[in-house]
Amino acid sequence: MNEAVDVLIIGAGASGAAVAWSLAETKMHILCLDQGGWMNPAAYPSRGRDWEARFFGDYSPSPNIRARPEDYPINDDNSPIKVVNFNGVGGSTVMYTAHFPRLHPSDFKVKTLDGVADDWPIDYDTLAPFFAENDRMMGVSGLSGDPAFPPTEPPMPPLPLGRSGAALGKAMNKLGWHWWPSDTTVATTDYEGRARCINLGHCTPACAQGAKASTDITYWPAALRAGVELRTHCRVREITTNEHGMASGVVYYDKDGVEQFQGAEVVIIACNGIGTPRLLLNPASGRFPNGLANSSGLVGKNLMFHPYAQVYGFVEEVTDSNRAPPICLWSKEFYETDLSRGFVRGYAFQFGRGAGPVMEAVMSEAKGILPWGAAHHAVFRRLNGHRLQLSAICEDLPEEHNRVTLDPHLKDIHGIPAPKVDYTISAKMMEHGVARAKEVLAAAGATDICVNCPILYGGWHLLGTARMGTDPERSVVNEWGRSHDVKNLFIVDGSVFVTSGGVNPTSTIQAIALYIADQMKSRLANLFD
């Protein structure tokens, strides 16, 4: 029998780690359960000659391909964008590009400004101190003074522009369009025990140098030192409730597959926009046949991915290719609403430095620009090390038919129903992004232009499936992350996003987690009122 804890956090990724660290100062008994284990940097791909090949296998971003015991299957057959994630201590921060923009102030007020979707119940100014705290904890490198964003003060200088950044910056200047070196959680100096970046280049599938911030090397060491307990290889099946409709704990499978009960006074879910609705909808939650915390009927609905439109081409000069962190710049030229474009809201561009030889060969062959036969060698030498690319990351507005439900047949290794994703996209904004991206590449002198629209394995950003709001009929959690229905149940991950903005969400997810933790700390005396 496990001793009951004060606070139980499910998930040790971006948001779970942040909320655990922030709550630790309360000296409550805090336990985090994660379905995965600690990562072993000695086994990371960039240490071996097969570093690129492993991206298609045990370090694939797709859980369905990777299929580690820590992963659960996802039925995303009915979606043009496939879910990508990582499961383990650190969650998807182990396997992300470290591109670290924040949502803009306008993103929180889309109904007021543009008459679409809903406003958030919180705003940028509310989150600003938590963004700054998170920048310090994760260790952000960047350059102050971006005219496209309110002032920020990244604690480390930006990554070098490199050859690719300079070539892309020149092209953007020709067009008179905004660009800026992007904020990143890749450390450009030694920082809080982390070694500085040495340009391994293969950042996304985990950083062997430890220069890229993932929460297993940022928040977790601090949280553990402060007394938080982290139990690994523990997969939660259901959140239990008592006769008062309050969460009483969880049932989980331990590392040996043995079913366990863990009691708790407060339960916090940090399982991302797919894992969180999966858990809440699990019919094993007997008192709530339609799903826990789901009186609104919105658990699992309004899934937002951010459709990515990727465009790339090849220039005569040599680019940085795989010899530097993959993303170098962003552009907000088309971020804020301009009705002359024929749509409201907008998108950011993120600019890529290039690819390694295997990735270049595989991608170019698949696109039909790298021929078979005698011509192969000459063409490959023209392409390899000469790639420039950019992606429009389009704002995805909430639509209830985009949703996560439980698959009636597919289950994980513990017999827990797998999530099923139904999702459609609107092409208009992506088409605009593709056309502008082609102009950028033309200005850079690129040829052999290729388009991936959308990026098939581009479902990194899992948002909106347990949205926050003040109206219990139109939201799952309130403005400080507490379930409207279950007064001791909190959600702190990307599920609570009301709208998606047009930027990578990790920075905002973590700022929200810190904000919710702060709200909890300030309300401890009447947390359940």
Partner: protein, 149 residues
């Protein structure tokens, strides 16, 4: 007990012929083709989770060819390969990918490309700063983010 080989001798023969069609050797660039014994050995030894789709792809190829690929005349071989590419689906894509991923990590090939024969870690690479004055016109722009009421 002997472990069953990942591929049958016939599948290995077709794999070798097929790989040479994608990447033949080149005297000009001083590189082997993808049918080179070392590269073939690397492919077979590291198939791992790709074994099943690669077998499936090679079976599909064999059905289209009707005989060992190497026995077909060049024109017929081209036709079969094209048909395989068009109809082979995910399995064909996997077969092509395993050929490419083993070819482009071979020492001789990397040397010919001017790349170092090592993984990224622990040495890493040097990234030049680039010309930061390019950012001056952007810095001169007025604030462009949208204020909220």
């Amino acid at each position: 007990m002997l472990t069953k080989p990942a591929l049958t001798p016939a599948q290995r023969d077709d794999l070798r012929s097929f790989a040479a069609m994608i990447i033949p050797d080149s005297a000009e660039y001083k590189v082997p083709g993808a049918d080179d014994p070392k590269i073939q050995a690397d492919i077979v030894a590291t198939l791992g989770r790709d074994t099943e789709p690669v077998r499936e792809a090679l079976d599909h190829l064999a059905r289209l060819a009707g005989q060992p690929l190497a026995g077909l005349d060049p024109a017929r071989r081209e036709t079969v390969a094209k048909e395989f590419r068009n109809s082979g689906g995910a399995a064909a894509a996997t077969l092509i990918r395993v050929v490419l991923q083993c070819y482009y990590r071979d020492d001789r090939v990397l040397r010919s490309l001017g790349l170092e024969l090592r993984p990224p870690f622990p040495e890493g690479y040097t990234l030049e700063q680039g010309d930061w004055s390019l950012l001056d016109p952007v810095k001169a722009r007025p604030a462009m983010w949208r204020r909220v009421p």
